[in-house]
């Protein structure tokens, strides 16, 4: 087998080695199920001041796990990461812009524009 053939075979093998095995994906799904159960538990039990931060953290962790493993972003080209992260950052900027508009854009009577006054 010549060098080119070995290289080609390695490249082919590397392509299929991206990502996890089926058992690995099942473990990831179980982890996601556990995290979801913890999320739902915040509805039944009072977590006090920790409720909102813990829900936000769980949401971000679940988001990250699905994007990294199920969508293969962890193993794939960085170009895809840049494309997607750009969209996520722009979406957060949209939220920030809307938040500021609701906070500052009030009519002279002082009531919020979203109250239709």
């Amino acid at each position: 087998m010549n060098t080119a053939a070995v290289s080609e075979e390695e490249t082919h093998q590397e392509h299929h080695d991206h990502g996890l095995s089926d058992v690995g994906y099942i473990k990831v799904a179980l982890l996601l199920a556990v995290l979801t159960a913890v999320e739902v538990a915040t509805y039944f039990w009072d977590f006090g001041v920790l409720e909102v931060p813990s829900l936000l953290i769980l949401m971000v962790v679940k988001f990250q796990i699905v994007v990294s493993y199920f969508m293969h972003l962890k193993f794939d080209s960085k170009v895809f990461s840049y494309l997607f992260i750009t969209g996520v950052i722009l979406a957060m900027l949209v939220f920030a812009a809307m938040g500021t508009s609701m906070a500052f854009w009030q009519n002279p009577s002082g009531c919020d524009i979203s109250d239709f006054c």
Partner: protein, 214 residues
């Protein structure tokens, strides 16, 4: 310099060739245009849902002076929605198993996982239809107040995305069954999978921000 007639130009032809199946496509990025396009679409779709989620969060507790009625948050059935969320989450697992199956040329298993994913997505949509119907019977229509409009627009757009995903999955099942998509075109299934996982992550955000955070 090589004579122009001696250069093998078969790899530069349009359409899929045998060379394409074993190498990266001859694009500037070394990535397939279809996959780059899907990721660009998903990035842009983040903006759509970012705007819809922002709108709901800003209007969730407002009914306005001219309108009344309950808000969606008054009527949420968290245990029911939790089951729906779990179903959609598990559909991401079956989707990724469909992708790995076709990469291993296990076509029967791929078809099974594709159908399972479509079925789980359908269960999720059925749950959403039930939720919307029960909300409507309790007096929360689309135009009841500004809060309800924001809620139905957000969750409705997500439901449309899931429904389109189900159509794509069934189409893939038909194509795989008919032999039009084989292991050499596994990336087609992978791209459909990217879309499916995206609707899952959007729901992860909606479930936490809209349903669970008080």
């Amino acid at each position: 310099m090589a004579d122009i007639d001696e250069i093998d130009t078969s790899n530069l032809a349009y359409g899929r060739t045998e060379w394409d199946d074993h190498h990266h496509l001859p694009t500037n990025t070394g990535l397939t245009n279809e996959k780059v396009t899907m990721w660009a679409f998903l990035g842009s779709d983040c903006l759509l849902f970012g705007a819809l989620i922002s709108t709901y969060l800003l209007l969730r507790n407002r009914v306005g002076p001219a309108t009344s009625g309950p808000t969606a948050a008054d009527l949420f059935d968290i245990p029911f929605t939790s089951v729906s969320s779990f179903v959609l989450l598990m559909s991401s697992l079956t989707m990724v198993l469909a992708v790995t199956s076709i990469q291993r040329a296990e076509m029967d298993r791929c078809k099974l996982w594709l159908l399972t994913t479509a079925a789980l997505g359908s269960i999720f949509i059925a749950g959403q239809v039930y939720e919307f119907t029960s909300f409507y019977r309790e007096g929360l229509g689309f135009t009841t107040n500004i809060s309800s409009s924001a809620f139905y627009t957000l969750t409705g757009f997500h439901g449309v995305h899931v429904s389109l995903g189900i159509v794509m999955l069934v189409t893939m099942w038909v194509l795989v069954s008919g032999g039009q998509i084989g292991p050499e075109r596994a990336e087609t299934i992978e791209i459909i999978g990217l879309y499916w996982h995206f609707v899952d992550i959007v729901w992860i955000v909606i479930f936490a921000v809209v349903y669970l955070i008080p």
